[in-house]
Amino acid sequence: MNWKRTFTLLEEKHAQKQSSRRSFDISDAANIALFLAAFVGIWQLVFLLKIWPAYLMPSPAMVITEIGDLIENNSLPIGIGVTLARLAGGFAVSLGIGVGVGLAMVKFRGFGKTMSSFAVGLLTFPSIAWVPFSIIFFGFNDSAILFVVVMASVFSVIITTYSSIRNIPPIYLRAARNMGANGFALFRHVMIPAATPSLILGIRQAWSFAWHALIGAEMLITTLVGLGYILSVGRDINHMETIIATMITIFVIGIIFDRIIFRKIEERVRSRWGLDQHTE
């Protein structure tokens, strides 16, 4: 049997498969473009139908002009920079505290049980409700904004850490402990990687909590910069173009961050664990 030939054939087949995987990314981009085109199309249609007056529902072109204006007068670039810096700061603090507390909860069962209830209770707190306290404790400044961001996202990080680690298949922890892992090594080399699929899901949401809180805080704790401030001005003077322009900015930042951070990690984990073998 000339199985050399067959091998070559099979190899070619595989090469095709690979390239088709690459072309999938193009189809992904095409999909996104399609979605966006459809959305803008409907929007334009609604505008043309004049269901609502232009100052309630501006056209896509008007919003793009607005984005241009906001970029030109620098409020958008500065706003993005400041907001992202605050977000990064607040979220970093949340991650640090949240993961720490979550681990402590895993370690000390009684504390974990009690704290998990509190954490859920505090997670349901609307971030707006923290604002008055934040002002009392910190005043009208970035610290106050950070406080609100942390309070809105830290409980989500805590719950995520706690649940994700507790849901790790016990056999992994046994095997690791058997090989001498404990303390930080156990956490770093086993708990975190074993919990990653679930951690990503939770952290993504914690990240969104942080966003929500940040924009809310920037609207209420005025510091004259930040996307939330731009949004609040838009609302204060009922300028829909500004509101929509800000929302688009937030949306785009959200997607970009997801793609460069969470999605990357997720895909890596999925391919290692063989989770992308699902529906082949």
Binding site: A175, R177, N178, T196, R272
Partner: protein, 275 residues
């Protein structure tokens, strides 16, 4: 080429002391199910003990307790005279199933224990490569776990345990999913390891040939009493021939022991079913 005699002189490096363990049945009346009932074993330094017994008789549970992964309801585990309640790198279990880390490659899995021990990257990688070769998986060093067949996973688990080089190896049906040849090869390698490093080995298996081929002593466990039913010292030199008359006699005896329990268990099951 491998020879060995029963080490009479060695002291008990591992002492299983009246260990008991019970679980609840998941039934409405939540009966208690006594799995281990005052089990005692003394294992001498460098001894190779094989354990046989019907499915569900508590072999894995016993290994886990010895490793410190589960705590007994009563009784204790002594290693070199010291009472142990937690895990340590000197007693490594090769688990019966699914304990490999899916987020690591084969090589990374094998070097995991060394990484924890703080061995430098170069050294541990070298060691890991050696053991991956030993279990015939060099071509799969960079594969992830989901890419392996059942037998390949078992071999990775073996390599991972060997890499750690523990004093006491607790092997839970390590060769169950392997073909005859690979199994033979690994038998030889384990015996060689045992011979050269004087490791103490507890080895669970359902394969009676394997039990008599490898062990200095064969321990038969019984689910009926939840304890050790009988022990057989095998002082034949290695390599042994499973077909030899002496071996056949021992095998017959072991089988008889097992048979007895089995019939007892069947009767029990049947009456229960009728009720």
């Amino acid at each position: 080429m491998i020879t060995s005699e029963y080490r009479q002189s060695a002291t008990a490096v591992l002492k299983v002391n009246e260990v008991s363990k019970a679980f609840q049945y998941a039934s409405p009346d939540s009966q208690t199910h006594v799995v281990l009932n005052r089990v005692s074993i003394d294992v001498k330094d460098g001894e190779f003990v094989t354990i046989v017994g019907p499915s569900g008789c508590g072999k894995s549970t016993l290994l886990n307790i010895i490793a410190g992964l589960e705590s007994p309801d009563s009784g204790s585990i002594l290693v070199k005279g010291e009472r142990k309640v937690s895990t340590s790198r000197d007693r490594i279990v090769i688990f019966q199933e699914g304990a490999l880390f899916p987020w690591l490659t084969v090589l990374e899995n094998v070097e995991f224990g060394l990484k924890l021990a703080g061995v430098s990257l170069d050294k541990r990688r070298q060691a890991a490569r050696h053991f991956v070769d030993t279990v015939q998986l060099s071509r799969f060093a960079n594969s992830y776990i989901y890419q392996l067949s059942g037998g390949m996973k078992q071999r990775v688990a073996i390599a991972r345990a060997l890499a750690i080089d523990p004093d006491i190896l607790l092997m839970d049906e390590p060769f169950a999913a392997l073909d005859v040849q690979t199994r033979d090869l690994l038998h030889n390698q384990v015996l060689h390891l045992h011979e050269t490093t004087k490791k103490t080995i507890l080895f669970v298996t359902h394969n009676i040939n394997e039990a008599v081929l490898l062990g200095d002593r064969v321990v038969v466990m019984s689910p009926r009493t939840g304890s050790i039913k009988k022990e057989f010292a095998i002082s034949l030199p290695r390599p042994r021939d499973v077909g030899s008359p002496e071996m056949t006699v021992i095998k017959r005896q072991i089988l008889n022991e097992l048979e007895e329990d089995f019939h007892f268990a069947r009767r029990e099951t049947r009456t229960e079913t009728i009720q």
